[in-house]
Amino acid sequence: MSSPASTGLASTPPDGGWGWAVLFGAFISIGFSYAFPKALAIFFKEIQDFFGTSYSEVAWVSSIMLAATYGGGPISSILVNRFGSRPVVIFGGLLCGIGMVSASFCTSIMQLYICVGLMSGFGLALNLQPSVIIIGKYFLKRRPIANGLAMAGSPVMLCTLAPLNQFLFDNFGWRGSFLILGAILLNCCVAGALFRPIGHATGPIQKEANKEVKETAKAVGFLAATEEEEDKQCCAKFNQYLDCSLFKHRGFLIYLVGNVLMFLGFFAPIVFLAPYAKHMGIDEYSAAFLLSILAIVDMIARPTTGLIANSKWVRPKIQYFFSFSIAFNGACHLLCPLASDYAGLVIYSVFFGLAFGMVCAMLFETLMDLVGAVRFTSAVGLVTIAECCTILLGPPVGGALIDTFGDYKYMFIKCGAVMVLAGTFLFIMNYYNYRMLAKEEKAVGTKDPEHGKPMNEGSNNWDSEKMQDGQELEPLTDEQGLKKEVNGLTEV
């Protein structure tokens, strides 16, 4: 187990015990955040008829919701940094519930945009980020498994919500359904109640660390430290809540660029799979069944990927595994146009579901691995708002390609190419990153023999955990490295 000081957490992640209850809460929370906007599509026809609008106007509800969920990321991160996960999730759940309940009394499509799109969407943002963050606080050794299981919430919830929504709609109409869905979303508060706080909030820790560092820097006279100190005074207050120094973090930047590129081609194939099948002459029910196959394979793939990623062979090089799954996903899309009948499409759906699950399961795990559990809070917020743009761009660009060329294969080729490119980029850049980290680790080891000793001893025993620490130690800036020293000294 890594020392709490080195990971920046106040106490050791239990990797079990109450962690499983937290994982269950995260499962529910993440499930709602990802599945709810998609499951709403069942009501669109009725709402379109009721308000007399066009389909694209109603589809905006889903888009606004998705945009709010991803765009609210930084605010969510700031709130979690300040208050911790639990209050934020409970508030998010309340916000979602109130949004949907007020939506059931709406009299115009504009009001729907606000109630469902903005309010519930933002509530879901307040659910998604803290859930992912708290997994990092409760799990370390088993973190990939925990991430895989929690992310499996998305397909499970989608498979549950889709028929449930249909049932509610048949029996209560769309207004009644929204009322009941508001109550169901309140269950996110239950998930939030499970998020028992662990350790200190990260804000005060960084404050103390910074103060101590300033003093030691002056004492020891490191030039680098004093320059950073001035920078700190400028945005020290803001950095407490949202760590902008992440933009100087090599691993974070690699992840950001790779992921932003990947999301351009990530969701479009799902959106257009059923229309593509119908275009090929397959009937509506079989086309819908393709999506079900995708969801079921996805459901199994996520925890399995978590298990594989946790094994001692994969975990040290988890970034390679992630890049591989993105490239695999891209390859599936590139091969899709070769499918000429329903059987071909079924095979495509199976592999797509597998690849999709692999990527999603490791999406947050790799970020945690790169920046460490403490800075993850801010990192996830910054990453989601950057991804927000490309996620929203992806399907419309795909749709434009289909309309221009009248053929779906160009959309698949575009998505496949983008993802293979992203995967290759991440692979190469992470290879470079691993090498730099290994170099830095050696440098720290030789610079500070006292500190170096246990690390060398440890590396004999720890295997994957040691490599894990290596990732999380090195990305910290010099002053945080000094902070470790300081902690060690104070405890003497």
Binding site: A10, L186, V190, V492
Partner: protein, 266 residues
């Protein structure tokens, strides 16, 4: 008057070149493997080809110079009913029309409609046969009898009809009187047909009970979780507050930690 009439007639006769006469199949109303034909006599110029057109779409075309052109129809039904135009590619072109007529085939938009109490319910029937429906009537089934509904009945029932669609709007749905079966009937020159739609009215408060039930469940669960935590808290308070020594206490049995712990506390 006698002077006027010839003057009107004469220009007409003078400008007119004798029109070709096209004889077509007599109007078709039913059957399978029917053949539609057009025969032209007295064509103005040579025939360079033929075309069969329905609703601006070309069904068949050829470039023979025969005086007869034939179109084969598999079956006479709602989908194949309509006006079939046979076009002879002469100069100028000459056309004839074959009318394939059927009795209406009425379809409902939704077999079972739902509406909320106090809202407006809309029941829709469609018919895409040719010729289009000339008269739509609505009935409500009440105790094995069909009661005719007229536009404006009870000041709540309004009927909007067109050649291929009819809508029955029921304003301010009443949960006692309005649920039941409604029958729409469409008539055209060949015959008539109808279909049944059933209407269900949901109570305003129908969704309220599940809503309250789920809210109660959420409150109960949250309360249980918080109480459980409060009762366990005394055990964990020390661990949480004291970040430095806690790892020693709770992880003393963990070999891997020992190395680092010992170093830190030394």
């Amino acid at each position: 008057n006698a002077l006027l009439v010839p003057r009107l007639l004469v220009p007409k006769l003078a400008c007119r070149i004798k029109d070709p006469i096209i004889v077509t199949t007599p109007n078709v109303t039913s059957g399978s493997n029917v053949q539609l034909y057009c025969n032209i006599s007295g064509a103005a110029s040579a025939i360079t080809g033929h075309k069969w057109i329905k609703k601006e779409a070309v069904l068949q075309s050829d470039d023979t110079s025969s005086h007869q052109t034939v179109y084969d129809l598999n079956e006479v039904n709602t989908d194949t009913s309509g006006e079939y135009v046979c076009k002879f590619l002469t100069n100028p072109p000459a056309e004839g029309i074959v009318f394939v007529t059927v009795k209406p085939h009425v379809l409902v938009y939704k077999k079972s409609e739902h509406g909320n109490e106090g809202d407006t319910g809309v029941l829709i029937c469609k018919c895409s046969s040719y010729p289009s429906v000339t008269e739509w009537t609505w009935y409500k089934k009440e105790n094995e009898q069909y009661l005719r509904i007229v536009n404006g009945t009870d000041n709540r029932f309004f009927i909007k009809s067109s050649g291929n669609k009819t809508e029955l709007h029921i304003v301010n749905l009443d949960i006692e009187k309005d649920p039941g079966e409604y029958f729409c009937n469409g008539t055209n020159e060949v015959g008539q047909d109808g279909a049944t739609v059933s209407l269900r009215v949901r109570s305003r408060l129908a969704a309220l009970w599940p809503f309250l039930g789920i809210v109660a469940e959420v409150l109960v669960l949250v309360t249980i979780i918080f109480i459980y935590e409060k009762r366990r808290k005394p055990d964990e308070v020390l661990d949480d507050d004291d970040g430095g020594s806690a790892p020693l206490k709770s992880n003393a049995t963990n070999h891997k930690d020992k190395n680092v712990r010992q170093r830190n506390s030394n």
